[in-house]
Symmetry: C2
Subunit: 321 residues, 2 copies
């Protein structure tokens, strides 16, 4: 939960006067998301989300993120659409922070993932990948394989305090994963979400009604996004892989875009890499966040069990796929 | 900001199935309020607030609070109206907490108080007092004068660490205020809000559109509620009394319910008592909340300057009223 920056009603009214979206009737800070300050705005013109960009988001990346969201929305994906002011600009400054207004999406994110969620998520992910073909600008994945050795180094001093032997296990995993990582021309590339966890997917009546939070999006292997979703959606609370969810996710994806044979072969190493990425960033936050700080730390060890599962997998059959 | 308890979408849908307010289309935790967990609910029937009652609210008091809100709403006050389920009950259990749904109120609370806010607030407070005459059940003020010596005792060990000499000054203030406190039959009594700070009053187009957060409400001297508002609305950020705001607040109040002479005479001691109450509860939280806990501590010394001002006041003229 987080609202790092409050916005005075006077400053907000002045800000809204630059737009043609009606007069302010209500706004409330949202207690979700750990990266930015988000507010639900209600105006006489409808409902919107106001985001003030805080830590971790590089202001230089914001035009790319907002451009991608606009393009995906243009191509029919249900995602937040940046709202431009009368001067044509969506990215502005409010309360000393970069700020943007986007459309409000209905729906509820699933606190408990069921098999029935996974096919719609897979199909929505593929639709995102297809819609992303309309957006030509590239953004490198700042948390891709090139970044992992540096994260391991930054965690080395304190990482084993989380679990003895953890750093040696991560060294071994990287020694295995990095040489096996597909080259950028081996697999289809494009715009990926890169953080499509359940709290970023809204459902309504069993269908995906919205995909949010594009602030880790980047240009990378499309199948890596599937690998992230396998980690995020297809494991039980105790860290056991649920093959029924995995099958539904892949089938949903392939109902929109069939995987190539090379992508299928690469999925185990991509999934191991995705588990490593979330393990490492959570571990980094864990050892660098003071206990009691106003941010909820996520347990890095949730991803160690996933990593072990993926490293033991030989091929898609190991997933029951 | 606070959402202490998240609610799963499955549990929320089951809960909503007990009501006739439509199907869930969205819900978001609100990053406001430090006492309870609040969510904005959107259903096909409209917008609502879901509250899960957490710390500081005694479950035994909830029927009184909800009953008062229902009565005030019946009498035309714009306040959250408890929504009853099909069984006629508004107070239920969700996620292991007492929980209730209330109506959503439009409007925005003023981050920067101006003179123009004060007459509408005064009038709304008087309207609340008049509407409260329709609610006969009494609730004692758990944070009234009887509670202050105990709070002083609980702060004695650590209070001077906040400011040297603070506890001696509080002892002197109580020795002056408590003997001068009006007896319960000396002044008009009734239902008071007892926490009508700016973040509990929504405005729309310059008028009060809603009063929220009745979880300190109780049965006490009506003029004590005015004294609380003088403290909450009529001092500058540096703690200097703004007579123009005070005049507007009182004039607004008296446009609905004129004060008696006894109430006017009592206002300085009531205002000193109100400053003492907020100073003491903030001080108690300050010395009992670990630094870095997930609650924003409010500076108790904001109220020391107010207390000194009120103790120096002889009568309403000292306020420029």
């Amino acid at each position: 939960m987080a609202v790092y920056t409050d916005v005075s009603d006077g400053a907000l009214r002045a800000f809204l006067s630059l737009y043609d979206i009606g007069d302010l009737t209500a706004y409330r800070g949202i207690a979700e998301g750990v990266e930015n300050s988000n507010f639900v705005l209600r105006t006489t013109g409808g409902d919107f989300i106001l985001t003030l960009y805080e830590r971790r988001v590089d202001p230089a990346d914001l035009p790319w993120f907002l451009g991608l969201m606009g393009c995906l929305s243009d191509h029919g994906l249900s995602c937040p659409r940046p709202v431009v002011a009368r001067d044509g600009q969506a990215l502005r400054t409010l309360a000393g922070r970069p700020a943007a207004i986007t459309t409000f999406l209905p729906g509820v994110w699933p606190r408990e993932v069921r098999v029935a969620h996974c096919a719609p998520v897979g199909a929505a992910l593929a639709a995102l990948h297809m819609a992303g073909q309309g957006f030509g600008a590239e953004r490198a994945n700042a948390l891709g394989p090139d970044a992992w050795p540096g994260l391991v180094a930054a965690c080395r001093a304190d990482g084993d305090s989380v679990q003895p032997g953890l750093m040696a296990e991560l060294d071994a995993a990287l020694a295995e994963i990095l040489p096996a990582w597909p080259a950028r021309d081996d697999l289809p590339r494009g715009q990926i979400h890169a953080d499509l966890f359940p709290d970023n997917v809204f459902f309504l009546d069993g269908a995906v009604s919205g995909i949010i939070d594009f602030y880790f999006a980047c240009t990378d292997l499309l199948a890596y996004d599937i690998a992230i979703c396998l980690n995020a959606w297809c494991f039980d609370a105790d860290g056991t892989f649920d093959a029924a969810r995995g099958r539904a996710l892949i089938a949903g994806y392939e109902s929109v875009r069939p995987l190539t044979d090379a992508e299928r072969r690469a999925l185990p190493v991509l999934a191991a890499g995705a588990a490593t990425r979330f393990l490492l960033t959570r571990l980094y936050d864990w050892v660098n966040t003071p206990a009691g700080a106003m941010v909820t730390r996520k347990d890095p060890l949730d991803y160690l069990k996933r990593l072990r599962f993926h490293r033991a997998a030989r091929n898609m059959a190991s997933y029951g796929l």
